[in-house]
């Protein structure tokens, strides 16, 4: 028996969600357009979320000094990894650049968050994922895809112990 719609002129929304499969083929482009619009709303929301989260949780400055290790534990040209306990744990690397010269950077590459490593042969920091290179001195990008410099911490050496504090431009 042939299907007879009860209403001769159903409202638009009924036309958009028909019961029969073959009728659905006629309205997919309408639905597609609506879906695109929905996606667009989602993107706008996502953008709003970026704004909210950047205001609600601004990056907190590290407070106080944190003990990393003894100076004897990292030879010149060596590197060690550490993390500071807190709300979110960020991995850091500590580099013994030269006698009495220490640097501390975040270990997450600013490109796609791979772990970076210090290469003593070239005195640079390498990100192995996409061949990104950072200056071991300042954390600046030397080469490759990373868009930003590595975030840095200040290093203080006292009584044969290495401490890190929030980075200040004038290194004490």
């Amino acid at each position: 028996m042939a299907y007879e719609p009860k209403e001769k002129n159903p409202p638009n929304w009924k036309g958009d969600f028909p019961i029969r499969q073959d009728e659905a083929t006629h309205v997919t482009r309408r639905e597609f357009a609506k879906f695109l619009c929905l996606l667009s709303g989602g993107l706008a929301l996502g953008n709003g979320y970026v704004v909210l989260s950047s205001f609600a949780y601004p990056d907190k400055e590290l407070e106080g000094e944190h003990l990393v290790c003894n100076t004897s534990e990292v030879p010149v040209g060596g590197m060690t990894m550490f993390a500071i306990k807190g709300t979110k744990e960020i991995p850091y690397i500590l580099i013994h650049l030269a006698e009495g010269e220490w640097r501390a950077f975040e270990q997450k590459c600013t490109h796609l968050s791979c772990a970076v490593v210090y290469r003593d042969e070239v005195k640079k920091i390498e990100c192995p994922c996409h061949n990104g290179w950072f200056s071991a001195d300042t954390g600046e990008v030397l080469q490759g895809p990373p868009p930003r410099a590595l975030p840095q911490l200040s290093v203080v050496v006292r009584n044969e112990k290495v401490y890190v504090t929030a980075f200040k431009d004038t290194i004490s």
Binding site: F32, K34, L36, C37, S40, G46, S54
Partner: protein
């Protein structure tokens, strides 16, 4: 409905098709711009550049409303008016 619509629809049977295509293309364009905005907002918010994130959000919202407004011009499903008017004509 005036006969103007009927003759229009009869002489340009592809009209709704073109309209649909145009709207979908515009929506895709809007989406692409929004993806680009979101990308730059994320990248800049990481760099503590919040002003750009706000600007991108406002832009994205405006684009979304443009998209919503465009939906108003979606042609009716299954050429309802066309069918209706044709069947009406039969009895003339």
């Amino acid at each position: 409905m005036s006969s103007f619509r009927v003759t229009q629809n009869q002489s340009h049977p592809n009209k709704t098709n073109t309209l649909m295509l145009g709207i979908i293309m515009l929506l895709i364009g809007i989406l692409s711009i929004q993806i680009w905005l979101l990308y730059s907002a994320l990248n800049n918010a990481l760099d503590e550049n919040q002003d750009l994130a706000i600007a991108a959000f406002i832009g994205s919202l405006l684009l979304f409303f443009t998209g919503l407004w465009l939906l108003k011009y979606l042609p009716d499903a299954r050429g309802r008016f066309l069918k209706k008017e044709l069947s009406e004509n039969k009895y003339k």
